[in-house]
């Protein structure tokens, strides 16, 4: 085995130009594969992030939409105990209302949050353009679109009308921007106690919203099924983000598959290229193999020479490819930028993916050397000796 390795190394060294060319060929293939993979993964991650990064992943409500939940603290405890993947849980009491300002009517959604529990999900803290979260009984925060429509500022009173015609008055404590126009226009944030109190829904909530950890966002459907089987959940309904974003998901899916296809074909062409170059090198070296066989090299040793060549080329090409891929990715994030200076696409640099690509380079090159290795093993020394 060591003899085969020594001979393989010497063969590669003696035709340095060819070796460098093959290694660069592998490297370019792997670099393209890494670049495309990172690009698509980064694209998908940022899409998912902006879609559900600050939204509820799973929502629990009563089967009957109009009904409210009274036993919510015990439900929260049950959910928390049920699965470790659930990271944040927050109860919400919400009700539709109207703001009538002269001849202008805006429909809003009062959302009463327990901000200690809701902040990790929605990151309200960092979303305020002005003022702060509501704290007292009659304070409310509004979105920047609603603020513009009604030309309100922090500290101004605002009158709302709820079903039944009851009028309530709040003071604007702050203006938020959740980056989604419809939410900025309709969400009317109050504290949970204030909402329960003002809406006369003491001890009741409408929904429990929760988020799962980053690695489990795509497992919410399975998780929802699992939660639905908890005791006392028979009259409750679970909604998860995947049901609500089917189009996005099928788009992402298509993207993943096409990216995978490109990666596979790049690797296939790399494998074919290496295989054909190594096959030619068996012809080039057939005289040497014949001599070695006349001197008593065994068939297995003879084929190992080419397997080692493939392995060494794969390792060389793999390292080069990973470096080149990283360089490409880095160049892309540095030079392809939005007008505001943020990268067009934040590439996802995942060590695991790079390691996998490296492994693919090594395995593919070794596989590509199997055919030449077989030919080398079959070569009859007499052919070389007789034909000179």
């Amino acid at each position: 085995m060591i003899a085969s390795f020594k001979i393989a190394v010497r063969f590669l060294k003696s035709s340095r130009g060819q070796t460098v060319m093959i290694a660069i060929g592998i490297a370019i293939g792997i670099a393209v594969q890494i670049f495309i993979g990172s690009l698509i993964q980064g694209l998908q991650k940022s899409l998912i992030d902006s879609t559900i990064g600050n939204a509820a992943h799973i929502t629990i409500q009563q089967e009957d939409n109009d009904q409210l939940m009274a036993d919510y603290e015990s439900v929260i405890d049950a959910v928390r105990a049920a699965d470790e993947r659930i990271t944040y849980i927050s109860p919400v009491l919400q009700q539709a209302a109207l703001i009538i300002d002269g001849d202008q009517t805006e429909s809003i959604l009062i959302r009463g949050f327990d901000y200690k529990r809701a902040n990790p999900i929605y990151a309200f803290d960092s979303r305020f353009v002005e003022g702060r979260l509501p704290a007292g009984a009659n304070e409310a925060a509004i979105g920047k679109e609603l603020q513009a429509e009604l030309s309100l500022s922090v500290g101004d009173p605002v009158d709302i009308t709820i079903t039944g015609g009851t009028k309530l008055t709040y003071t604007v404590s702050g203006v938020f921007d959740l980056k989604v126009q419809s939410l900025n226009k309709s969400w009317f944030l109050t504290t949970l106690e204030s909402a329960q109190d003002q809406l006369d829904k003491s001890g009741l909530i409408s929904t429990i919203e929760m988020q799962v950890d980053d690695d489990s966002v795509f497992q919410v459907d399975e998780l929802a099924v699992q939660l639905a089987e908890l005791p006392d959940f028979s009259e409750k309904k679970l909604i998860q983000w995947k049901e609500q974003n089917e189009q996005l998901l099928s788009g992402l899916n298509g993207q993943s598959i096409s990216s995978l296809m490109i990666q596979v074909f790049v690797i296939v062409s790399v494998v074919l290229a290496i295989a054909s170059i190594l096959a030619i090198s068996v012809l080039q070296k057939s005289k040497q193999i014949g001599i070695l066989k006349a001197m008593g090299i065994r068939n297995r040793q003879a084929s190992l020479i080419f397997l080692f060549q493939g392995l060494i080329l794969g390792i060389l090409g793999g390292f080069l490819g990973v470096a080149l891929g990283l360089g490409l990715a880095y160049a892309f994030t540095v030079f392809a930028r939005n007008p505001d200076g943020t990268p067009v696409v934040a590439l996802l640099i995942e060590p695991g993916f790079f390691a996998l690509s490296f492994l693919i380079a090594v395995v593919a090159s070794s596989l590509a050397s199997l055919i030449p290795a077989r030919r080398s093993s079959r070569l009859d020394p007499i052919e070389v000796i007789r034909n000179g």
């Binding site: 003696s14 040497q288 070695l292 066989k293 001197m295 008593g296 007499i382």
Partner: protein, 231 residues
């Protein structure tokens, strides 16, 4: 004296549809430690005979016995091991590996067998290089040497495993007459020194006449077999 190589009724036929018989029922044996020549015109079958004696080729019929072991039932890898340890080859074309230096080429059979040659073997390689007069160029790439140097390197390589038999096919066929004399003298010296059996194939009668036994092959048959009377 012991027979180191014995051929019994060896025939060789090439081709399947158009059959060409090259060797006809050859019965031939060589004594251990002897110094022999096989002569014959080109196409007489002498190279085929050597390839069969060296287990590089298999006879169509008949048996080859090397050092008391029948080779007809042996597998490719067993034959490779037998060649590696028992037989040294010297070809008309030196057949050195151009990627390696002269010394590395000499050590190659040992590398194949042991992966790392022992200090003893390495010392022997240096000795052999000295014996063939190449100690000054032993670290040159074999492709950067003259024809005579390459052939002498091939002789040193043939000897590294201390084989009992050296099969040489036109070892001086590519060399000028002075170098031919040197190479021939060297082979004689090795025969005396290491008691290695030599079978030299040549078409050069002058070379053949310097050996102890001449076997002439003509049209695939033994035409003449003379042994120099030992005085």
């Amino acid at each position: 004296m012991d027979k180191i190589i014995q051929l019994d009724k060896v025939s060789k036929i090439y081709g399947t549809s158009v059959k060409t018989q090259v060797l006809f029922d050859i019965d031939l044996s060589f004594d251990a430690q002897s110094f022999n020549a096989i002569i014959g015109q080109s196409g007489s079958g002498k190279s085929t005979l050597m390839n069969i004696m060296g287990t590089l080729d298999r006879p169509t019929s008949g048996d080859v016995t090397i050092n008391g072991t029948r080779t007809d039932g042996m597998k490719t890898n067993e034959l490779a091991a037998l060649r590696n340890q028992t037989i040294g080859f010297i070809f008309q074309f030196h057949y050195l590996l151009p990627e390696f230096t002269a010394l590395e080429n000499v050590l190659m059979p040992a590398v194949i067998k042991y992966n790392k040659p022992s200090a003893e073997t390495v010392r022997r390689a240096h000795e052999l290089m000295e014996l063939v007069g190449l100690e000054k160029v032993k670290n040159n790439l074999s492709s950067k040497m003259s024809g005579g140097q390459q052939q002498r390197t091939a002789i040193a390589r043939a000897l590294i495993m201390n084989p009992q038999i050296i099969l040489a096919d036109e070892p001086t066929g590519n060399l000028d007459s002075d170098t031919t004399q040197t190479v021939y003298g060297m082979m004689r010296q090795i025969n005396d020194l290491y008691r290695t059996t030599f079978i030299i194939i040549t078409h050069d009668r002058k070379i053949a006449e310097m050996t102890d036994r001449i076997v002439e092959i003509k049209d695939g048959r033994i035409n003449l077999d003379v042994t120099r009377s030992t005085t």
